[in-house]
Subunit: 444 residues, 2 copies
Amino acid sequence: MALRVGDQSRAARNGLREKVLTLDSMNPCVRKVEYAVRGPIVLRALELEQELRQGVKKPFTEVIRANIGDAQAMGQRPITFFRQVLALCVHPDLLNSPDFPEDAKRRAQRILQACGGHSLGAYSISSGIQLIREDVARYIERRDGGIPADPNNIFLSTGASGAIVTVLKLLVAGEGRRRTGVLIPVPQYPLYSATLAELDAVQVDYYLDEERTWALDVAELRRRLSQARDHCCPRALCVINPGNPTGQVQTRECIEAVIRFAFEEGLFLLADEVYQDNVYAEGSQFYSFKKVLTEMGPPYSTQQELASFHSASKGYMGECGFRGGYVEVVNMDPEVQRQMLKLMSVRLCPPVPGQALLDMVVSPPAPSDPSFAQFQEELGLAPDMFFCQRLLEETGICVVPGSGFGQLEGTYHFRMTILPPMEKLRLLLEKLSRFHAKFTREYS
Amino acid sequence: MALRVGDQSRAARNGLREKVLTLDSMNPCVRKVEYAVRGPIVLRALELEQELRQGVKKPFTEVIRANIGDAQAMGQRPITFFRQVLALCVHPDLLNSPDFPEDAKRRAQRILQACGGHSLGAYSISSGIQLIREDVARYIERRDGGIPADPNNIFLSTGASGAIVTVLKLLVAGEGRRRTGVLIPVPQYPLYSATLAELDAVQVDYYLDEERTWALDVAELRRRLSQARDHCCPRALCVINPGNPTGQVQTRECIEAVIRFAFEEGLFLLADEVYQDNVYAEGSQFYSFKKVLTEMGPPYSTQQELASFHSASKGYMGECGFRGGYVEVVNMDPEVQRQMLKLMSVRLCPPVPGQALLDMVVSPPAPSDPSFAQFQEELGLAPDMFFCQRLLEETGICVVPGSGFGQLEGTYHFRMTILPPMEKLRLLLEKLSRFHAKFTREYS
């Protein structure tokens, strides 16, 4: 040992020391990580932008970045209400300003009350502010038609990515052929492959079926699982629904089949549902894995382990920069859940402004709130248009928004005819009445 | 395999399946993690608070949380200027408000210009907004008396914690006796032990000397390193200066000795300098490892690898909730640096509001700015008091702040006598002139 130190000292005097940390000596798992969303093409795009600024001639005049789901970078304007509440939270002196609507002030005060020292600048508890986890739970319940959600099973995170990495981390164990394998779709969002490489877990690919608009096929899952069992211990199945990058929205039948498969094969389910608000194709509908799992009843509802991820970065708000997200865990071993909380506590807490933003995403203004009209308009839908659209979709009743006839600003109407025969009219009015009650409950 | 699946299916029908993820089957490295800052005592404190709210009698009426460095949770008010700029960034409509000072508006516009889509809601590049990394570089240069800092060597992070974990992750490699060992102080901030456990690296303790106010002793380092080489491959040395939890501020001589030791022994240096603004003991002064390393000249300045961490959570601002931080790397292998950027890119980017906040921390209002007076007052020092205090500390010249005599609001003076003999007076005026030039340079 002494000799070695002496050698190094001599080397030091000669200024000949090698670097401690080199490509050869560094963490080999990190070296294996690949992340194409910000890979060489994106780096080249940065260079091209610089060249354009310097006046270099190209066959185009600007680089359009469609590599990453970043709505605001593309010019989408943030939702005014969200930013008003955040500004009030950041700088509470503004609570005295007449330029902010009362509901935004109430919302900001409510969030600040739940913060340490009533400030966004204090750490929160590691799982996220209690009040916000309660709001997330209520949001999940509304989304899933009343299926209960427990705030204690909800953990706020630094974007959905933070939570996904944490859950994968918990799952990785074993050596050699006993090493944890994780089934992930191909194509996938490369966070999964990158994280599995970093954690030195075994990536088990299953292929989505391009012929059937990238649908998930349980026979393919079964085939890949069986192959993987020869060289690793598959313990988890990742599903991305709606698909990223495919956009495919899974049918309820498909989700049921996946849950049965996971249950029979003893796989922990990770459901990446961050694009749940981005469903466009006619006839498509988003069902959460939690909802389907619960409605399938025992043993699935009582035993199948599930982690469902969501984010404030996608959907209509696209607030990527705030890094707000959460995971809801279902049927997780309580001891493991405590371990997860411990792991999160090492990183102290997710960014508090991102937590506050998530709170607004899960509880946007209600129709009775002063900010509702502007909120709806920013979504491209005036409140009367929104009402009529939902009415048509949910009941088949077609009426006309009041805006088509003119109405006092801040008031909303619809116009309907009473030409149908009495029997049909009675049915129509009953349906309308039930819808109105439900609509009011849902959005207030 | 078929048989096994069949067994599980039967078990499924009987509802007998075990959990996939249990304390026994989970990641054993995570299980080993300990994090006392938020451990059982803190959990008990939460329970006690709840009991007090429910009216249970205790020998105290409130729980005072001194477990974590969270100034704002303890009632410290945030710096107004920082929050004004943040509110303007969050909600740019406020740029038209007459209630915000011009310098706050200029600052917000400057930050927004540097954001994707001019919004905090867009992702930044993974190493952090270029402009802010440039501001951090200038801050480091001022702090270190002009030693250059390269923005390309600065990576913004989710608190200092995020960057510390990333650098440690790069360093972990090898199996068995070749596994990476990392020297950490005892007592330490438990992020280090927790992260080393999670990464399955070997923790090598060195003890700080309580008899000498917790000083670091290089003989102790040498002893522990030599012992550790029997069972692992020590590759990194973590130093926390000023100490956490000890508060000890290392002397320049000590830092030089540590750097020589690290160089001779081939250790990558991690300098946790998040408490650099919290130096209180008389005669103590903070020297950054970067400054000392550079001033030691070659081969240290040209070869010793160093990562220095800082944060927006500590110091006078204590903005923990925003999770702003950075690492500056020195002499890092460029290939490894690219790997670090790749690793960070998997998590997309640090929270953008935290980046914005860090920008203000590294470039607070200058004396010529409208917000300077309030900023100084919030630090407990009016600008004239601040000037006189620095003058005394740096030159030995003792004058009286104008506030002691009364002055027009927004103007600042000092009062000096010209009683010293001519020779001394000449010297005094020369010193004063040099100081004034330096002060103006430093704070504008």
